[in-house]
């Protein structure tokens, strides 16, 4: 565990606390902000904090991919669409009827689960086996090209189909507008 050995367990705890507080605060900021652009910026901050947590969990590749794909591409796409649609704020804040029921059910489920966790005591967690960055990458690629070869191929087809779907979705509307 190279990172843990150099930083020490206490530093790791402090970093975890800071990152989780940042993630939760920016998540609340996203939910509560009136402006959708501010919401997207809060989402960016939250994703950065989660990427930091991934680094703490020694998932360096996933942290890199999260920043690259989510923070780089997805949030930028969201910002483009928000500016394209040019929406204004002003939303209602009442929970009523079915919304309230769904909120109550989910809150009850989450609280029950966390209580069970607290009652049962510690989750059985073996001490993590540390991989260095290089060996981890080698293991990733080994898994991707042996055990998970079929999912990788299916994923390629899925990306192709999604791309075609987006092109069809945006072209059909242009033609409809032209014919009007």
């Amino acid at each position: 565990m190279p990172a843990g050995a150099t930083r020490g367990p206490k530093m790791e705890q402090i970093a975890f606390t800071c990152l989780s507080v940042l993630a939760l605060a920016s998540a609340f900021g996203m939910v509560l902000s009136k402006n959708a652009v501010n919401g997207a910026m809060c989402l960016l901050l939250c994703l950065a904090a989660v990427a930091g947590l991934f680094v703490q969990l020694h998932a360096y590749l996933l942290a890199f991919v999260l920043v690259l794909v989510y923070a780089g591409a997805v949030v930028a796409l969201f910002l483009f669409i928000i500016m394209l649609l040019d929406m204004q704020g002003g939303q209602t804040w009442r929970l009523r009827g079915l919304d309230l029921f769904a909120a109550a059910v989910v809150a009850a489920l989450l609280i029950t689960g966390l209580n069970l966790l607290a009652i049962r005591g510690r989750l059985e967690s073996a001490p993590a086996t540390g991989h260095s960055v290089g060996s981890s990458l080698k293991l990733y690629s080994y898994q991707l090209f042996t055990t998970y070869l079929l999912p990788v191929q299916v994923m390629g087809f899925l990306l192709l189909i999604a791309m075609l779907g987006v092109i069809v979705l945006s072209r059909r509307n242009e033609r409809q507008e032209d014919s009007k």
């Binding site: 790791e12 959708a36 991934f54 998932a59 989910v106 989450l110 993590a128 990306l159």
Partner: protein
Amino acid sequence: MTPSLEAYVMLSAALFAVGFLGVLVRKNTLVIYMCLELMLVAATLALVAFSHFNGTLDGDVFVFFILTVAAAEVAVGLAIIVALFRARKTVRVDQLDSLKH
């Protein structure tokens, strides 16, 4: 002490709950979509934590696939939202109620 598995799972549950709250209380389709993405990221955080504390890579590979699918899903979803906006001139869910009446 290093952060335990419970801490990661509880943080993941809290992030998921905040995302779900956003889905319920917001009326803007794009913000709802961002909250859905937050719920997905919370689930991936739990997967990575379990994978790390188990000492295996399977959860990490699974998260790798989830991130790939999420990127495609965001592109398609935003295309649908733009098409919806072109057709109905609004993205507020309380005004998109054709099926209700």
